[in-house]
Assembly symmetry: D2
Homo-oligomer: 301 residues x 4
């Protein structure tokens, strides 16, 4: 393990922090940067190398993982005045685990290619808990020959590393999954709410859906109705889980991709608007299954 | 088996015909009525008793099953000038397997109760194939004490007979399931189409969805994209299966129930409109998974 | 004026009360019934005849106006155990000013025709203020030869009496107008909100819309943005005007009519759901232009 | 007139061509560039100066108008390898009449400002006919002190030049207007179609809407139903007018702006999807009022 070369890590937020720690556990020395110096302190105390800019990370490491909140942040970290591209070495492997617009991933990839390095998009599925336990799923887009090299690192942080195709397809897979998830979650909430108002017992209705063609992950694994399942956010006042504001962000990316590729997303765009409205009505920090609660409120006269 | 008393059967269409035959196979003598005399001929030839009106069925049988296309037909068969209620005997068991508005089921039940008989709604899930093989699912609403008596008959025609609660809850369960099914089918079609346009291989995308939170019956059992699965309508030019026009009808019932109970169905109402439009664009007789084809058409300039 | 024969009036609520008074002002003696006796007291004190049932109204008057909240109420008042049809005289003119499902209007008309009387649907546009000042608009459906007779009475209560065609078309005209109104109000609210967030001054944006192709009644006469116009509900915290709950009801009727005629209403059904949601979020009693406020709320983090 | 200094014009397409000609008519010498050399020929023959790049235009003219199809084209023309910014002189006035994302307008403005020139966005309303007759409406965003200078040129091409506020607000005003236009056009089409199916005469229904609260530009000036009005696209098989594909593009811009500002556009996003679908169903080149025809198609069984 002593022979492992350093890995750069940029973006040590809620997700990046436990991901970087899992790399440490697997014996990789780290070169760290975050726009908030406080986020680096813990790693500095643990003996990892903290530097002053993405460019400096690229100067000291030829494998770099980025975990950033938005497309804009990713562009800045790669192409900004002190960005990775200023000092990246030929042959470096740059893996972006941010969830961003696949069109941006493709643009970054082109710029990276120009300087003789390799870019892969590898967004994750699974929240903070999975990041801590090293059980994330990575959806990876990029040149297939480099997948093994990427997987060596990603497998330290995730239990499932899936190759999806050319650059941008990792993002595409994540966006498509989350759009379908949002649609079926809202659909489950609507069906459960309608059924309850028509006199059905919620547990019985869930059971019927789950043995029928309405069955979906939102109905059988993450049911949004309090009292139907244990150990899910609906059983805990919609705390924890995957926040409404994050779902709204991913649906915004799906919308952008659909608009630019002229793909109709009749329900996807509506789901986007619903999660947008929920963010304005006090649901931003609740789990996205709280759409049941949002629909459930009774009319008052 | 000789001792079995006759069972009335009203409505011998695509579904009613094989259902009635399964009762015959289990040794029940039938008393038959259909508004189209031709539909009865086959049963007459087989020695079953054919009568001239629903009232006459009620005169000769104290257990009656009805299988009719619309709420209006059900009202006519029960409450019309020659309807069941004109001659029904006290203590009779009337089982309606039509898919209709649960509010209508409740009204019929009240009228039936007035004459001292028992009404249960028992709509089915599963198409003509399941009707032939006796593998339908029945969702049953009505007084719980009578469920055993109903199940005796229904079990001859279905492999799954589920008690749902008070009168109307059978319809409610079916409507809620089919609304969620429509939503997740459209969602699957949108996600698959968007992913393909973003460069993903359809089979790979389906595999990713099915091991992730986007998983649903429409993605893992009945995938709407040609080439992804065998033995489903999408593999056979969307022939067979569950017609778009039938899905549009069920969504209309969901909409009616939602409007009358003031339940919001943000995506459900949109799904209704989408299947409505498809009926006008030549998709009525295709399987409802053809929504993928409907969305897939490319813009032309 | 002494020679005028009595007019029956059933339903003396918020709207019916001032409408009936306008008939009195024009010298028509009234025969009154309301399910709530208190609603009749004022008229009794004024010397009008109060009776015990709709049947009794029909016994004493051969022209009757009904103003009721729902389709169910109209059916009860016409066809119930003590309904108008029990004692209506041949040749009577029955005018229903309720806003109900046009299909119900047609059914009532058939029953009325059977007993040799005439039915017309004549829903109103304009609120309580217009009812008081006699400035309602009536949209009238029924046999054209009877329109003059109906207009004689309706013109006492409204400044605009429009003949729309066969029975049910009065309702149809009202429902279509209100559906378009709801859609363009929500559209105006969305456009104004988006423009404001993009940096436009609300008054300037309204001015631009109103001289361009976005112009509509909701933008130029009833603008939903506080500060843009005087004398409209948005200038008065959305008090007065046309309540959200009433708009939701009318959109429910539009939805029912669209479902039964298989007419696609892609935006109309969405508008229905939006007003439905608003009713559950505390907007029921506010004017329907408060959809701007509903959309305006900012996301909180 | 001899003393007028040359004006640059980039983008001589369907709209740019007649706009540039109107500048010529007002005596402005032109410096012309288009990516398609054929588009310049007509102007060369008329004695105007044709150059090889946007940079060359900037070299020879200190007032430049750009009229380009997409945000990408605008970025290329301004910031590309041979873009305006390469040779623009201090104090130049750069007016972009393209309809593009207001966020892009703001970015371009920043870059232009860096080199000491002035940028204004001035998208147009009105089609090819208005461009020919000099009757366009310009919605102008930028520094107010420069508005008079811009208006001098724009008034040669349009009869209505409106100052909207800071850079980007011209685009914002146009996008908001067109989004509301799309929504009310679809709403009008739905209301007219529903009314017709409920038995109303289309002309009568249009008349009722136009004297009521459903009134809008789409109902009273540009009615989408054939036979209701003369001289509009619906009277001419939806030829001419404003193409569906252009409306879809503008709605895509509205969607992008709404997503990035987190503004809910519940109906706007649906309108976007509807025009998107229409483009895929053969309506791209028809006027956008053909949504009536799109909805009108009857269900077939």
């Amino acid at each position: 393990m002593a022979s492992k070369t350093p890995v750069g890590f940029i973006g040590l937020g809620n997700m990046g922090n436990p991901m970087a720690k899992n790399l440490m556990k697997h014996g990789y020395p780290l070169v760290i940067y975050d726009v908030f110096p406080d986020a680096c302190k813990e790693f500095q105390d643990a003996g990892e190398q903290v530097v002053a800019s993405p460019a400096d990370v690229a100067d000291k490491a030829d494998r770099i993982i980025t975990m950033l909140p938005t497309s804009m942040n990713a562009i800045e970290v790669y192409s900004g005045a002190n960005g990775i591209l200023k000092k990246v070495k030929k042959g470096s492997l740059l893996i972006d685990s941010s969830t961003i617009d696949p069109a941006v991933s493709k643009e970054l990839s082109k710029e990276v290619e120009k300087v003789g390095a390799v870019f892969m998009d590898a967004p994750v599925s699974g929240g903070v808990g999975a990041a801590r336990s090293g059980n994330l799923t990575f959806m990876v887009g990029g040149v297939e020959e480099e997948f093994a090299a990427a997987k060596e690192l990603l497998a330290c942080m995730g239990s499932n590393v899936v190759y999806c195709g050319a650059v941008g397809t990792g993002q595409a897979a994540k966006i498509c999954n989350n759009m379908l998830l949002a649609i079926s979650m809202i659909g489950t909430a609507e069906a459960m709410n309608l059924g309850i108002r028509l006199g059905l017992d919620p547990k019985l209705l869930a059971k019927i859906l789950n043995m029928s063609s309405g069955r979906c992950w939102s109905s059988d694994t993450y049911n949004p109705v309090p009292g139907v399942m244990d150990g899910v956010p609906s059983a805990n006042n919609y705390q924890g889980g995957f926040g409404t504001t994050l779902m709204a962000k991913d649906l915004g990316l799906a919308q952008d991709s659909a608009t630019s590729t002229k793909s109709p997303i009749l329900l996807g765009s509506q789901a986007h608007q619903i999660y947008r409205m929920m963010c304005a009505k006090g649901y931003s920090k609740k789990d996205f299954s709280s759409v049941f609660q949002y629909l459930r409120e009774e009319e008052t006269f």
